[in-house]
Point group: C2
Chain length 407, copies 2
C-alpha cells in the first residue's frame, strides 16, 4: 500500500563496505581464483581500497592470498586471492528413495557425497535423523579440518522463502513441515531450505553453463515433467509468489491432449520423457540410459528407428515452438536445456536451433545461444550448498570468526 515504487532503501556506509566485501568474496567464490589487479579492474575501486578489502577477508578467514601467477607482462605481479578451501557447507537433498548428503567447499567443489538409500519414502523426522547421523560421523573431521558455515537443503516441493517451511512436497508426502527449524535444532547449525529446482538453477547459473551470461532462461525436463527458471542479473526471478518459470504449461499444440494442469496442448504433455523411454524400450528406472541409447541410434549408419526418429522430430518441433515464443518474449542471450531436453538437444542440435530460428523474430533470434546444463550429479549438492553460503556471501563480515576448527 505505501509500497509505492521507489521502496528502495537508502544506502549508508555499512552498505558500501558490506557490498564491496561481498563483491570481492563473490568474485573469488565464482571464479575460484582471481588476482587483486583483476578485482581492481572489475570493481573500479582504488588499489588501496581493494587492498583493505582483501586484508579484511583474509582476517575473517574467508580467503587466502597466494603467490602470483607467472608474470606475462611488465610490472609487479599481482597476488592471487582464492577462497579458503576449508570453508564448507553441508548439502542435503531428500528424495523418495534416498537422502543425499554432501560436503561442498566455497567455489562449488563437492568434497564428499554420501547417498543414504531408504527402504520407503522418508518422513521429515527420518531425514533429520539420517542427516544427524551422517554429520555426527563426519564431526571429527569437520572440527579438525573445516569451518562449517551451515546447511542447505534442496527439497522437491514448495518451500517458503522466509523460514524454510515445506508447504508441500508431493512425492515425499510432506505437508507444512518446519524443516529448516527441525534440522537446525538437531544439528546446532543454521539451515536454509529451498525448492530443489530453484537451487539447481542457481547452481547452474553460477557455476555451470550460465556462468558467463547474467541473464538466461533455463528449461529442465525430468520424469515428472518440464520446469524451468528465469535468471535475471544473476538471480533467479521468483515472480510475485515464487512460482515463476513454469515454461511447461504454455500452448504448443491446439489439437493436443488434456494436461494434468487442466489445459490442453501444453509443452509438458506433448514433450515427455516417458514417451522417449517407451520408444527405445527403456524402463522408467533406466532414464539415465536414455541419452546413450538415443545417441547410439543416431550414430548408426542406417540412422535411428523410424518411430524413434519421428518421435524425436515431433518433440523437438514442439520444444522449438515453445522456445520461439520464449525467445521473442525474453530476447535472451542464452537458453540452457537440462534433463531429457538437454538429451533432445544433444541428439539433434541443428534441428532444434533451426526450428527456433526459423520461427522467431529477426531481432531476438540473432542473439540467442543454446547450451546444455553442465553440472550433472553435482547440481543439487552445489545448489544446496549455495543456499547455505548465500548469507555469508552477501555479508562476509557477519561470519563468526570462531566458527569450527580450533582457532
Amino acid at each position: 500500500m505505501d509500497q509505492a515504487r521507489p521502496a528502495q532503501r537508502g544506502n549508508n556506509l555499512d552498505d558500501v563496505r558490506r557490498n564491496n566485501l561481498a563483491i570481492v568474496l563473490g568474485l573469488a567464490h565464482v571464479r575460484g581464483r582471481v588476482s587483486r589487479a583483476e578485482v581492481t579492474k572489475v570493481t573500479g575501486l582504488n588499489r588501496s581500497t581493494v587492498g583493505g578489502l582483501v586484508a579484511e577477508l583474509v582476517d575473517l578467514g574467508l580467503v587466502v592470498e597466494q603467490e602470483p601467477d607467472a608474470a606475462s607482462h611488465a610490472g609487479r605481479p599481482s597476488a592471487i586471492i582464492a577462497p579458503r578451501p576449508d570453508i564448507v557447507a553441508i548439502a542435503v537433498n531428500p528424495e523418495v528413495d534416498a537422502v543425499t548428503i554432501g560436503l561442498v567447499s566455497l567455489s562449488g567443489k563437492v568434497l564428499k557425497r554420501i547417498r543414504y538409500d531408504t527402504a520407503r519414502v522418508p518422513t521429515p523426522e527420518e531425514v533429520v535423523n539420517i542427516v544427524t547421523a551422517v554429520v555426527a560421523g563426519m564431526r571429527g573431521e569437520l572440527e579438525r579440518s573445516f569451518r562449517t558455515v551451515g546447511v542447505g537443503v534442496a527439497v522437491p516441493g514448495l518451500v517458503t522463502a522466509e523460514d524454510g517451511e515445506v508447504v508441500v512436497a508431493p512425492h515425499l508426502d510432506w505437508h507444512n513441515v518446519p524443516f529448516s527449524a527441525m534440522l537446525s535444532d538437531a544439528l546446532g547449525l543454521p539451515v536454509v531450505s529451498a525448492n530443489d529446482a530453484s537451487a539447481g538453477i542457481t547452481a547452474e547459473s553460477t557455476f555451470g553453463s550460465g556462468r558467463e551470461a547474467n541473464d538466461h532462461i533455463y528449461l529442465n525436463g525430468g520424469a515428472s515433467g518440464i520446469g524451468g527458471g528465469i535468471v535475471i542479473n544473476g538471480a533467479l526471478y521468483p515472480g510475485v509468489s515464487g512460482f515463476a518459470g513454469e515454461f511447461g504449461h504454455s500452448l504448443v499444440n491446439s489439437g493436443g491432449v488434456l494436461c494434468h494442469c487442466g489445459a490442453y496442448g501444453c509443452l509438458d504433455t506433448e514433450v515427455r520423457q516417458s514417451a522417449l523411454l517407451a520408444a527405445v524400450s527403456l524402463d522408467a528406472a533406466d532414464s539415465e540410459q536414455l541419452e546413450s541409447v538415443l545417441v547410439a541410434q543416431f550414430a548408426r549408419s542406417e540412422g535411428p528407428d523410424a518411430a524413434v526418429l519421428e518421435l524425436v522430430n515431433r518433440q523437438i518441433g514442439f520444444l522449438a515452438e515453445s522456445l520461439r515464443g520464449t525467445v521473442n518474449i525474453f530476447n535472451p542471450e542464452l537458453v540452457i536445456l537440462g534433463g531429457f531436453l538437454g538429451t533432445l538437444y544433444a541428439v539433434a542440435p541443428e534441428l532444434l536451433e533451426s526450428g527456433v530460428r526459423d520461427r522467431a523474430l529477426k531481432g531476438p533470434r540473432e542473439d540467442v545461444r543454446f547450451a546444455r546444463s553442465e553440472l550433472g550429479l553435482d547440481l543439487l549438492m552445489i545448489g544446496a550448498a549455495q543456499l547455505a553460503f548465500a548469507p555469508m556471501l552477501a555479508n562476509p563480515a557477519s561470519i563468526d570468526k570462531a566458527l569450527g576448527k580450533a582457532s
Copy 2:
C-alpha cells in the same frame, strides 16, 4: 541468492550520496508530494540524513518544502516535499501524420500539448524544424517561468540506447538517423530518444496502472499489432539486444494462419484490431470509436450482434490462451492491457479473467490481477518527458543550477 556476479562495480561514497538523493527526488517525482517523515520511513535513513538530503535538493532548486498537512496524530507535523513545478521537459512524438510536442513537469503533469499536423510523412529534418519552431515560440515563456531539463523523443521505431540513433522507423521511413544529435544541435538542449512503446510502458509503470506494482507485464494492441513489455523492479526489461516484450508472436492457434513474422497462429494475427473494426463497420481511421461502439452494443438489452459477439469471444479466447502461458511463466502480480486489448477486457472482463484463471496453474493464477492502461493521450508525452528527466532523477546533483530562468 542475490550474491555478487562477476561484473559488479564497487560502491563508493559518491554513489551513496547520489543514490540517496535519487531516492528522495524519485519519491517526490512519483508521488507528487511526500512528507519528510515518510521519506525517513521508506528509506530507513536517519532523520538528520534526510534533512540534509532534502536541503541539498532544495538548494539545487529541484524540490520545495511546503507547509505540513493538517496533523492527524501527536507529534510535530512533518513538512511536505514536492517537486518544483517549474522543472520541465519537452516531449516530442513524431508520427506519420503529425508531430506532437508537449511540456511536461516533474511528477508527470502535462502542462501543454501541441499537435502539429503534417501534409505527408515528415522527414527527420522537418521534425527538427517543427520542434525548433514550436520551442522558439515558447522560448519566452520557458525562460521566464521554467527550467528546462531537456528533450525526450518517443520514436515509432528502433532506437539505440547509447546515442539515440534511429536505426529504423518503418512507418516514417527513417533509416540510421542520428536524431538525438540533430535535435540537440538545433535546440541547444540535451535530447534523449527511445522507442515509443518502451517510453509508454515506462510512463504507464511509473504513473499509470503499474505504479503500485514493481513487477508487471504490459500488453498493448494497436493498429499495427500487439507489442508489450516486461517491467521488473520498476524498470523495463530490455533483453540482451533490446527486443524483449514481443508477446504478440507466441502460439495461440496451431491451425492458425501465417503471420507476417513467418510463423503460424501467433497472437498477433489471430487477435487483430482490424477484424474488430470490420465487424462493427468502422474504418481504420475511426479506431478511436471502437470502444464506444462495442461498449454500446454490449450494453444493449438484446446484446451485441451475433457476429460481433462471436468475434469478441474468439479474440478473448486467444488472448486468454496467450496470457495463461505468460502468467505461468512470470507469475506476475499485474497484467496491464492497453489499446484495443484494453477495450476487449473492458467489454468482457469476466470472460478474459476466467479464461486465464481456468487454464493457468493454481499458484500463479491466484495472485494475478488485470488492469487497463490509464494514461491515454498523455502516455507518450509523459513517457518522452521521463526519458529527459531520467539522467537528472538518477543523479540530482548533476543538474546545472544556472539552468534557465534568471535566478
